[in-house]
């Protein structure tokens, strides 16, 4: 097992060999062929957090393009590719159906640059699948996380002492537990499940309900229209709300997770409500392990599973 990143790993890797590399094409081609990689789990996509449009585009679109190019070709040893995407790809539209299915991604450009870049990235992945029929490509659209180790902007939102909300809106929200995200990536990495799948928690919460459960006070002070004004208002108070989250907090976004259950035989076990509870419990401990991003959790997890299996 090999881990690739531009930074040093933040947790101790035991049975994973670490390679310093970025997503430059020439490097990756050599790596893939040199190490005879058969399964690629591509987690180096930015789906949460505060990144500039440029960074997101370079990482998600160009990075993925290079990686897929390295994996393609007649002499490629790769047999399975898992790509991490996000439910942000749907964008948050007020008139979206109550449960978004995998096929309901509009190809049209939307306001949110993250959604646009993810759409472009997914298009690349789908083109790759068409050109390389023998490779099983799994695209996982992970739900919005609160972040147990590295708190995401959405997680920060629920930890604000007074939670500002959009006036006149109370959307349904759906969250993904970090452990479920990792497990979904693991399951996709160890078996062929070609296709696109939503991964998110069961059930929904109203935003007001979630704020109440978090023991916070709701302040409906943000203007219902003109997101930019609301976001600059918030920036003054010290909370930088990414654009993709602003729409989410006004209109909500809920995806259908029946398809992943049908294909994987597994349904993310943590419901939205449980995820929020877990997050608040761990958050109140204030003793967060300084762990790396999701890809390292994955390797740890894989290791753990493999050991458990070996012990049996």
């Amino acid at each position: 097992m090999y881990g690739i990143d531009i930074d040093d790993p933040k947790v101790a890797l035991e049975r994973t060999e670490f390679v310093h590399a970025d997503t430059r094409h020439s490097l990756l081609t050599k790596l893939v062929r040199g190490l005879a990689v058969d399964t690629v789990v591509h987690c180096a996509t930015l789906t949460e957090g505060r990144n500039s449009h440029r960074t997101v585009h370079e990482t998600n679109v160009i990075g993925t393009m290079n990686l897929l190019a390295a994996c393609s070709g007649a002499d490629s040893p790769v047999r399975r590719v898992v790509v991490k995407s996000s439910v942000a790809v749907y964008g948050c539209e007020p008139f979206a159906p109550s449960y978004l299915r995998e096929s309901m991604v509009d190809r049209a450009q939307v306001r949110d640059f993250l959604a646009n870049d993810l759409r472009e990235m997914e298009q690349l992945v789908q083109d790759f699948q068409v050109r390389n029929g023998v490779i099983a490509v799994t695209l996982l659209r992970l739900g919005r996380r609160l972040g147990f180790h590295e708190v995401t902007p959405l997680g920060e939102y629920f930890l604000l002492s007074r939670v500002p909300t959009f006036h006149g809106f109370d959307p349904r929200i759906q969250l993904l537990h970090d452990d479920d995200g990792v497990e979904a990536l693991y399951r996709a990495a160890v078996a062929d499940h070609a296709g696109v799948f939503n991964v998110a928690g069961d059930g929904v919460l109203l935003l007001s309900q979630a704020i109440k459960l978090a023991g916070r006070r709701q302040l409906p002070v943000l203007l219902p229209f003109w997101r930019a004004i609301a976001r600059s208002e918030l920036r003054v108070t010290g909370y930088d709300m990414p654009a993709s989250i602003a729409d989410f907090l006004a209109y909500g976004c809920v995806v259908d997770i029946d398809p992943i259950e049908r294909e994987f035989g597994w349904r993310p076990p943590h419901a939205t409500r449980d995820t929020l509870h877990d997050f608040l419990e761990r958050g109140s401990n204030a003793e967060l392990p300084s762990s790396g991003p999701q890809e390292y959790e994955l390797s740890q997890y894989l290791l753990h599973r493999r050991r458990a299996r070996a012990a049996r």
Partner: protein, 369 residues
Amino acid sequence: MDLTSSEERLRHQLGLLYTDVNAELRRRGPNGHRKNGRQAGRRVPRLRVPAPVPDAIEKIKAELPVLALQMVGELSLRLRELTGRDVIDLATMMAIVQFFSQQVELANRGEEMTVDDFGFDQEWTESLLPIFQWMYRHYWRVETTGVEHVPAEGRALLVSNHAGVLPWDGAMIKTSLFEEQPNPRHARALIAQFFFGLPYLSWFLRRTGQTVGHPDDSIRLLEREQLVLVFPEGVKGTGKPWSERYRLRRFGRGGFVQVALQAQAPIIPISVVGSEEIYPMLGDIGPLARLTGFPYFPVTPLFPWLGLLGTVPLPSKWRIQFHPPIRTDLMGPEAAEDQNLVMTVSDQVRDTIQQGLYDNLKLRRSIWY
């Protein structure tokens, strides 16, 4: 001069409502005089607030409804003495106070509050029912027939004509299922996508069980054995001018039939008479509609001349008729692909509703009775 006597005097003099009396008293200050310099009499010592202030406030808050009710009771007694008849109906007052205290209670729900997958808050929706029941019984005096055609359980697609600038017809159909059915059911209406982008309205619609008018949503609801209410005319129906009242518009593209076939749900046509007269639409200001993004900007005898007061619907006489269900289980789900069959069923439903409209219009003596 003590407080109670001045309060009573005020009440006799002015016949004000309790709250107004209170406001007046507060304005006059503790001495019962206006505060404009003529401060006479002994000063009332300032009340010392007990230490746990929040507790005291909570206590007052909790007792306020009871106190208010007591005051209203007293007031109604005195008014009866004065005028010799019941000016304030105590039972109504009781219901109003109860309604507000229940709203406060529901707003303070914490962990135990649940909504379904579509954001429907059943408990809260049912708490609003008294308002709609009053409209149903006393304001529009709705007469409903054929409610036995609605199944006591299991899925069904209710299809109705749509009229009136605001969707009161949907509210009344939903209320009728609560008023007339032996076991009340919630109908889940499908609403035009546009309304879900609006603040407050989108919130209210979701909370009370409505969802986006998308085929995916309706099939999902039907598969959960729910009653789904659709208005195939959409905004073309609500925004039609007064001269074209009770003439059905095009029934979409028959999408509702496809949904019913796919979900194997019976179609129950509904004719609603009376909804056309609540806001007689005399004109439509196109530019204003475009400016606000609304599908139409209505001009009625009261709106926009009277502002918000113009949104009060007129008290027409209503009749709702549920027609016998059209079975879809005989055709099978694959029939949804058969465009010919879909349009045939769609026309059949439309004709049934149109005929029902004519029948019920004949049964009505006038618009108002």
